[in-house]
């Protein structure tokens, strides 16, 4: 369908128009996801706890995010006196922008990537680090002891978990031989045992690699059990304490957008992206199915486990995940050498 549209519009400027359409589509996708992932989370939390979740607003509570959005937008944007006003106002924007940009390179289906960049994987991780800085700015500029403690924790947590994540991604890049996300997905075509998750010939510890990536993704997005930043019972709301109204709303939405980004990346790298195992439905449907399954598992993990301690979190990263990911890296490079020699 996209190709038909492109053919229609090709006498005009193909590239800018296509980009505009994609940008609009992506922003809509992120916004809808952020809103309705809140609904999924609340309903999921309810069902795990044997209670209904939101049911009043709209059928099965489907209009609850709309009501929440209206509520947040109608609140006054309080900027407390004494905060660093530029940083305070920029922080929510800085959290939201990198996610939108990173989603431009993810292939949602065959030919459904906004930009096919050869170093797509690199771009996503380059942008991902801005997230950390934005939370730090938000906490620091709030001039609130709780917020500052939380911001400090977030920085150390994110830095600690970026390392195993990057090592895992380097492993995958080595195994697939490219940083181009479209190419990575194309290599996984065929029945589901061709997915990277099951290609044990390239890396015998592939499921462990996937697990490390998943855990790092949870830690990077500050989700339970690694949600020290917003540990409600200790620090009230952590880095977001001083934000009111839509400022808080943007942080909230950005968290869900980050989860979508993380799960999309996991799908592309490990679960075959838009490749269909039975060759029937269009690629976009499969991509969304796999991605939302991972999102459901993120919600599931959140509502099952208690929070780790701060130093437990760091111990896990530095003492377990980094050695393990280094080991998988060396192992897969050894396997590649052996395979090339054969």
């Amino acid at each position: 369908m996209i190709q038909a549209l492109e053919k229609l519009l090709s006498p005009l400027w193909p590239e800018p128009l296509r980009l505009v359409l994609f940008v609009v589509g992506m922003v809509l996708f992120v916004a809808l996801n952020a809103m309705y992932l809140v609904w999924v989370e609340r309903k999921g939390a309810g069902r795990f706890q044997r209670r209904p979740g939101p049911t009043e607003v709209g059928p099965a509570g489907l209009l609850q995010p709309v009501a929440d959005g209206i509520k947040l937008m109608s609140k006054q944007l309080i900027v407390p006196a004494g905060v660093d006003s530029t940083l305070f106002r920029i922080a929510p924007l800085l959290v939201m922008a990198p996610v939108l940009m990173s989603l431009a390179v993810i292939p949602f289906g065959q030919d459904l990537a906004a930009r096919n960049i050869n170093a797509g994987l690199l771009m996503i991780f380059a942008l991902g680090s801005i997230n950390v800085m934005a939370l730090m700015l938000g906490g620091w500029s709030s001039r609130n002891k709780y917020a500052i403690i939380s911001a400090a924790r977030v920085v150390s947590q994110n830095v600690a978990y970026e390392i195993p994540m990057l090592l895992v991604v380097i492993t995958m890049a080595m195994v697939t031989g490219t940083l181009n996300l479209n190419e990575i997905v194309r290599q996984q075509s065929g029945p589901f045992w061709h997915w990277n998750l099951f290609r044990l010939g390239l890396n015998p510890l592939m499921p462990v690699t996937f697990l490390i990536f998943y855990i790092c993704m949870l830690a990077e997005t500050n989700r339970a059990p690694f949600d020290m930043a917003e540990a409600e019972s200790e620090l009230v709301a952590g880095a977001y304490t001083e934000y009111a109204g839509m400022g808080f709303g943007v942080f909230f939405m950005a968290e869900y957008a980050n989860i979508v980004l993380g799960c999309s990346l996991a799908t592309v790298l490990f679960l075959g992206g838009w490749q269909s195992p039975i060759g029937r439905l269009p690629g976009l449907v499969w991509f969304l199915l796999k991605m939302y399954f991972l999102v459901f598992s993120v919600v599931w993990v959140r509502w099952t486990f208690p929070r780790t301690q701060f130093y437990g979190l760091l111990n896990l990263s530095w003492k377990l995940l980094i050695p393990l990911s280094l080991f998988t890296l060396i192992l897969s490079s050894a396997m590649l050498k052996i395979l090339r020699a054969l």
Partner: protein, 197 residues
Amino acid sequence: MKQALKEIFTGFYSLLVGLWITLRQFFRPTVTVHYPRQTLRIPPRFRGHIELVRHPATGQPICFACKLCKRACPSDCITVEGAKVQGARKRSVTTYKLDFTRCSLCGACVEACREGAIRFSREYNLAGWSKDEFILDLFKRLETEAQATVDAQAPNRGAAMMKSEVPPAQPAEPARAGKPKAATELAAAGKNGGGNS
């Protein structure tokens, strides 16, 4: 070293067990009672605010304002006044006010009353717009509503599944296949069996 490795495996296994348990709970029905669309079963001995009791024969309130309940109340909630009607042997109550904003539902008044003139109602659905609405005028309530008799097991609204406290008529028999159970046992089982996971 070996201890740490073992801990990794047992720890990971414990996480998987936890995930399995919550997933099982996910597919079970909710235990919430969707109040006010569904109502709760109010047991017979529920302590709502007190109410005056009518004499079954005369239809008049039993209370004759001896003020024992007023003396027994720890929170000074009760205001009782009575007067002797012409030609009657005893006083009868003319005012009975309960300050429900102070009442702690302790039951001292109900116990103190020697005649059984007051009892607990089963009102739980109380809402009002101002504090004054909770200075309950029980005498007026008695007059305006058609009250039940002295029988404390009168059905109340919101209690469609109310059963009485009758103990099972026969002792519990060992269950034999195909033998139908007694109706009272079924009723008692149905009352308590619902909602268990």
